[in-house]
Amino acid sequence: MTKKITLPITDEDIKNLKAGDSVLLTGTILTGRDAAHKRLFELIEQGKELPIDVKGELIYYVGPAPAKEGYAVGPAGPTSSYRMDKYAPALLDLGLKGMIGKGARNKEVIDAIVKNKCVYFAAIGGAAALIAKSIKSEEILCYEDLGTEAVRRYTVEDFPCIVAIDSEGNNVYETEPLKYRRS
């Protein structure tokens, strides 16, 4: 069954999401990847204010391709999440409610997800043209100098993803491959 969620995501929504659930997100999400995370993390370490408020938000790990003429956004599939593992716990501690990316996370991130009652969604890697159909508009919020790595706000409608790690720490990347492992 597919669950539809209207953003901002609530604590109740998160509580009801279980690893493996298919989800369609509607509302707005933030974007950011390696270089933007590094900058945000350095500001947190220095005790400085961030240029964006992450409280209550979801962040999508993506560096989109440019939009073709007539398109709202360019192809925008998820990037590998583990590269943000160093930075994610600090953002979750600041009130970030979840992340959208692809692939496994380390123990520190999973612990921070459980501690802060957050969620990690997986989008399908390499389905960028398809995923972009659910992104209706974009606005650059900061770090424009980073080009594709700038922080954006996407307005999404039925953005497709799967709960990869739920608020109790259940993790599809651990459980699902085992069901099909024959070696």
Binding site: I131, G147, T175, E176
Partner: protein, 283 residues
């Protein structure tokens, strides 16, 4: 054979088209393999992921937009005929100009930073390209080009195995590398393996192997059998499409080999995502 003059602009135009084409149009070999995998996938989630990937690749081709936002670092294998002279320019510069034009005009993502460690400032035109040039006899230039995404590139590995490891050691290293990569390189993957040569030749062969269509086999039947065996073993790992479980973790294993030193048996494993993009032309 007569000396043939080729204009730098013609090289640029050919390279531009190759990078736009390979980023919009997935190869028939990959599409056929994805469709077959979708039929045979046991996991319902895996089946759904594969059908979305197929739909994605069809949208990209129809609308002429990149099928993946990571349009890659630009890699070219060039067979440069020794009777060719480039007019009005230089070959590498003409290639880089083609990359620049493709990424700018083709709405491809600029994913290259000039300095790898300290500045990491984007070059904003996806140059410089990685150009592997081999001089061959003749008066043509054959170019095979591909955009290599780094989600899978980061999962690649090389090991300087020694002769006593034998074929079992080779298999073990390849399988270990794929297992470690797990869900991260956007499975179903294409595994390029380079065996032999020196440290850098093995790595280069592994990349070349990812550019070979997956419906072809190594000409040496022993390596062809090894390709089949490895593909079967990888698909027993259970990672499945997008790493969400299933029996389709890879859609191809290609092995390329080279003579090597009496003391060595280098093995390089270059992992490529299901968006295994490459295109070829001859000027």
């Amino acid at each position: 054979m007569e000396i043939r003059r080729i204009k730098a602009d013609d090289v640029t135009a050919a390279v531009k088209k190759l990078f736009m084409d390979c980023n919009y149009f997935i190869g028939k070999d990959i599409m056929n393999a994805l469709e077959k995998a979708c039929e045979n996938e046991q996991s319902p989630v895996g089946k759904s992921v594969l059908s979305q990937i197929i739909e994605n690749d069809k949208i990209a081709a129809k609308e002429e937009i990149p099928l993946c936002q990571d349009t890659g670092m630009s890699v070219l294998f060039v067979e440069y005929g020794d009777k060719v002279v480039i007019e009005d320019g230089n070959f590498d510069e003409a290639v880089n100009e083609g990359v620049r034009q493709a990424y700018e005009e083709g709405c491809l993502r600029k994913s290259v930073v000039a300095d790898p460690v300290f500045d990491r400032v984007n070059t904003r035109d996806n140059t410089p390209a990685i150009i592997h040039t081999k001089i061959v006899s003749g008066n043509t230039i054959k170019i095979t080009a591909g955009g290599k995404g780094f989600g899978s590139e980061n999962m690649s590995a090389i090991k300087m195995l020694t002769p006593s490891y034998g074929v079992e050691g080779v298999k073990q290293f390849i399988l270990d590398t794929v297992f470690k990569a797990g869900p991260n390189p956007c499975p179903p993957i294409v595994v390029g393996v380079g065996i032999g040569g020196t440290f850098e030749r093995a790595a280069q062969l592994a990349k070349k192997a990812t550019f070979r269509p997956i419906d072809t086999k190594n000409e040496d039947e022993r390596y062809a059998a090894l390709e089949d065996e490895l593909l079967t073993e990888i698909n027993k790992m259970g990672f499945g499409p997008a790493g969400l479980g299933g029996n389709t973790t890879a859609i191809g294993v290609n092995i390329e080999t080279s003579p090597t030193h009496i003391a060595g048996m280098p093995v390089a494993v270059n992992i490529c995502c299901h968006a295994a993009r490459h295109a070829c032309t001859t000027i």
